[in-house]
Each structure stands twice: as C-alpha cells, then as structure tokens.
C-alpha cells in the first residue's frame, strides 16, 4: 500500500510467551485504540455498478488523501515543485496508482464486503484516475467481484492496522433501486467485542497480531429492491 512498514514478526517461543502474558494483563484493561495511531486521513467515496437486475459486480473506490499526506507524497515523488497545486499530464501519469504499487502480504486493499458471514472476494484493484484538488490527492481505482445480489451487503472501508483512518463521506452511488445506510461504530460494543477477541486468541496456538481497524470503522449497509 503506502508504506513498506508492514512486516510482521513470525512466531517464536519467546514471543508467544510474551504475548500470552500480555494478553492476560490486557484482559483487565480498557480499549482506546491501543497504540495504533492514524497518521493518514482518507475520505472514501464508492460507486457500485451491476447488471441492473439487483446484482452488483463492480465498485469504483475514490480515496481523497488529507492535505498533509498529499504534500508528503508530492514531495516524495518530486511533483508540483512550484507549489501551484497543478500537475502536468506527465506528473499525473507518474502519480496514478501510487497508492497501489506496494502490495504487502496480507493486504486486502482496505475494503471489505460481506454477505452475511461470507466475505466477498474482490479482484485486485486497477487504478483508473488521479487528480490534485485543493492540495489533496484524489485517486480512484476499480475492483470487480461476484456478481452478488446487492441486497443485504455489508461494506466496510478500514485499515486493519489503523495507520490510515478511512471515513465514508456519504458519497455512495448505487444503481437504481438500491439504497444505502451508513452506521457509525458503537464504541462500547467495540470494546466488548475486542475483549472477547482477546479472550479467544489466548486459546489459539497460531497468534496473529490483534487488528483494531475494523472495530472503529463505519459500516455501510446496502439494500436493493428486486426489479419488478
């Protein structure tokens, strides 16, 4: 994704022991986003398309990066040197897809779609456009999937490591006949769920780092009326 910093230490006896002890201690403590501190803030807009008969098969994802991070990326890549806020065609071509170049193991594109308990597999994103608006980099990519019935889909945009804070800005475009509802995370519920998660992890041999990103993310629910 944006960073190379996603390498995870794999199990060894000492770490397992440390984690077990830490887990025991953690069960008594409150959850407050732990040490995961977001440094990048992204506004997410989604456009779903399908076959027009209530099934969806494609989503266009628009990520609008915050001013500060955009400035950082532009300076990383040596773009917009004059600070005018305007990129040439050549610069735009170089910038396109910058956020999808790195694809660390385990990364899923920070978009999760579920139908009930089943996670819908999303194809690898294809970058489609990039612009610079008011100092913010706005990048779009498309992902295909399914097709699955749109009714009852649950969509979440989050970074499991919570380095990036994604917000659904409410810009969700759907085919005719479908509607959406964005729900804010219930923080108390998240705390309870997190404690449960920790409790379960203690019993497993294979330990995966605790992922907090989804506990603090909004959820988008889709409903599509069957075509008459």
């Amino acid at each position: 994704m944006l960073l190379s910093a996603r390498a995870r230490l794999r199990n060894d006896a000492v770490m397992t022991l440390v984690r077990r002890i830490a887990l025991a201690l953690c069960l008594c403590l409150p959850v407050s986003g732990l040490g995961a501190h977001p440094h990048v803030f992204v506004d997410v807009a989604l456009t779903f398309t399908g076959d027009g008969a209530g099934n969806l098969s494609r989503v266009k994802v628009t990520w609008s990066y915050d001013d500060f991070f955009s400035l950082l990326i532009l300076s990383d890549m040596g773009l917009d040197g004059d600070g005018e806020g305007v990129l040439t065609e050549e610069e735009l071509t170089r910038l396109k897809g910058f956020d999808l170049v790195e694809w660390p193991e385990g990364f899923e594109g920070d978009l999760y779609i579920h139908r009930g308990e089943e996670k819908i597999a999303l194809d690898h994103p294809v970058p489609t456009a990039v612009t610079l608006e008011n100092g913010r980099i706005v990048a779009t990519h498309e992902r295909t999937f399914g097709p699955v019935p749109g009714d009852g889909l649950k969509v979440e945009a989050y970074d499991p490591t919570y380095y990036v804070d994604y917000r659904l800005t409410g810009s969700v475009t759907l085919p005719k006949g479908c509607s959406s509802d964005i729900r804010e995370p219930d923080l108390d519920e998240s705390q309870r769920a997190f404690r449960e998660m920790l409790g379960q992890l203690g019993a497993e041999e294979q330990y995966d780092p605790v992922e907090v990103g989804n506990l603090f993310a909004q959820t988008l629910y889709l409903s599509c009326a069957a075509p008459s």
Binding site: L9, R19, A22, S32, D66, L72, D188, S190
Partner: protein, 300 residues
C-alpha cells in the same frame, strides 16, 4: 489545612479515572484527540505551503499548530504519559521534579526525531519509508518494551519494599517493644532519596527512543521544501505540546498519590504509610507494564 483539599482533589481524579476506565471515557477522549490531530495536520499542510510561498506570518502559525498537534497526539493513547503518570503515583517524587521529567522526556523525543531524520538524510541516505519504518517497526516496540521494563522494575521494587516493610502491629507506647525502635514508616526525606537520578534517566530514555511519526513527516517535508529550520522548531513545538499533556498527567498523579497518602497518614500516625508507598509502587509498576505490553502487542 492542606490535607482535606488534597483528598478532595484526589477523589475527583479517581472519578475521572473511573470514567476513563469503566465508562468508555477513554474512547471519547481518543476520538476527540484523533479529530483534533486530523484538523491540525490539515492546517499544518496549508501553513507549510504558505511558508514555502514566503508568507511572513506563517512560521508563528506553524509553531502554534505544531504545539496543538503535539497536544492532541499526546492526548491519544501512548506517548509516555502512562509512564510519567504511573511513576508519579508510585514514587515519592516532588511535583517539580516530575514536571521536569515530563518536559525532559517530551523534548528528548522531539530531539530523537530530528536526529533520526537528519542522520537518515545526511549519513544513511534513507527514504521516507525507511525512516518511518524504522520508527514504527523498531523504535516503537523498543520504546514500549523499555517502558515495560521500567514498569516491571518499579513493580519488583515495590514488591520487595512491601515485603520488607514493618507490619503495623498494634503496640502501646508504654509497652515493651524493644525491636520496634519506634519507627512507623520511612521519613519523607528517606523515601524521596530512594528514588534517585537513575530513575529519571531511565524514564526519559524509555520515552525518547520512539520519535513521533508526525514529527518525522514534518521534518522530512520541511527539509525537502528548504524549510529545515522551521521544521526543527516545529518539532520542538510539538514536543512542548506533548509535554503539556504529560505535565497535566504528572501533576494529577502527584495529587492523587499525595491525597491517598494524606488519608493514610492521618489514620494511626503513619503506620500504614510504610506499606502503602510500596503497594502504590507495585500497583503502578504492574499497570505500566501491562499497558505498555498492550501497546507493544499492537505494533508488533
């Protein structure tokens, strides 16, 4: 009439702690802190552009924003306030000295950000990803680990002193207790002397190992924009912002500690004090260790 006032303040603080702990107060605070941080970050970008364009008032604005950023960032989880606060609860250290530690550790953290970036730029030819990767993947766990070690050390020390402390056995002053020596607890100066300068160094070092990613971003950006000095000042402004939160936590912890001890010392001529102090140290040590291990788990 200091004692009743201290106890009252201590009670109020306990109320705050209970709210943070048991009633979701912590998520409210961190939500607020995160929003504040996002806004300051945005404003910082605008000011950096103005600074680059040569706007004279931009530097002062940037420094103010950096201070605010440091404040919001420290109000969120992590960043050493656990350690300073815990230490303030545990050790009989004066408010002034603790304040000094709070300030020192925040500024040392800012300094380590500056050192990391400029060493990376001038000596090691590191990319931005290298530097933030270094900070996030190695220095952060190292810092949390070091804090856990300090916490563990405090806990062990507390435990040892607790076990060695004389039991508050009832005895009259006209009785024949030749072994008692009429000591009901360590004198305040003795207690303070036990916690020497080594504690201070360990604390500051544990916190300073890990520079803040926001500071790294700022330093890298300003260096590239030819505004390096502004970036360095900005980083220390962030450090002061962080220090203001840590300072508040430090003073709160001293109030809490003294309030608790004042209550204990009024009952039975300080007999309880000999065991209360080490017990506080043990508890604080355990909590610090637990919280920093929790943080370390999250980043590993």
């Amino acid at each position: 009439m200091r004692r009743p006032v201290l106890s009252l303040a201590a009670l109020a603080l306990i109320g705050v702690v209970v709210w943070l702990w048991g009633f979701g107060g912590a998520s409210v605070v961190s939500g607020w802190a995160r929003a504040g941080q996002a806004e300051t970050q945005q404003a910082m970008a605008r000011l950096l552009r103005s600074l680059r364009a040569g706007d004279p008032g931009a530097l002062a604005g940037l420094l103010g924003l950096c201070f605010a950023y440091g404040f919001f960032h420290a109000a969120g989880p992590g960043h050493g306030k656990i350690l300073i606060g815990g230490y303030g609860m545990a050790a009989r250290v004066s408010a002034l000295r603790l304040a000094g530690l709070a300030l020192g550790s925040s500024l040392a953290q800012a300094a380590s950000a500056v050192v990391l970036v400029y060493a990376g730029v001038f000596f090691f030819d590191l990319t931005r990803q290298n530097m933030t990767g270094l900070a996030e993947d190695i220095m952060a766990p190292a810092s949390y680990g070091a804090i856990a070690v300090v916490g563990g050390w405090l806990a062990l020390r507390g435990l040892r002193r607790f076990l060695r402390a004389p039991r508050p056995a009832p005895h009259g002053h006209d009785g024949h207790c030749s072994s008692c020596g009429h000591r009901h607890g360590p004198s305040p100066s003795e207690a303070a002397a036990i916690n020497n300068w080594r504690d201070g160094v360990a604390l500051v070092a544990a916190v300073a190992i890990r520079p803040c990613t926001g500071a790294l971003f700022l330093l890298i950006l300003t260096w590239r924009m030819g505004l390096g000095t502004a970036g360095i000042f900005g980083t220390f402004a962030m450090g002061l912002g962080t220090a203001s939160v840590t300072l508040a936590v430090a003073l709160a912890s001293v109030t809490l500690r003294e309030g608790t001890l004042a209550r204990l010392s009024t009952s039975g001529q300080g007999r309880g004090l000999a065991r209360a102090l080490p017990l506080l140290e043990l508890t604080a040590g355990v909590v610090i260790t637990a919280l920093s291990l929790q943080l370390m788990l999250a980043v590993l």
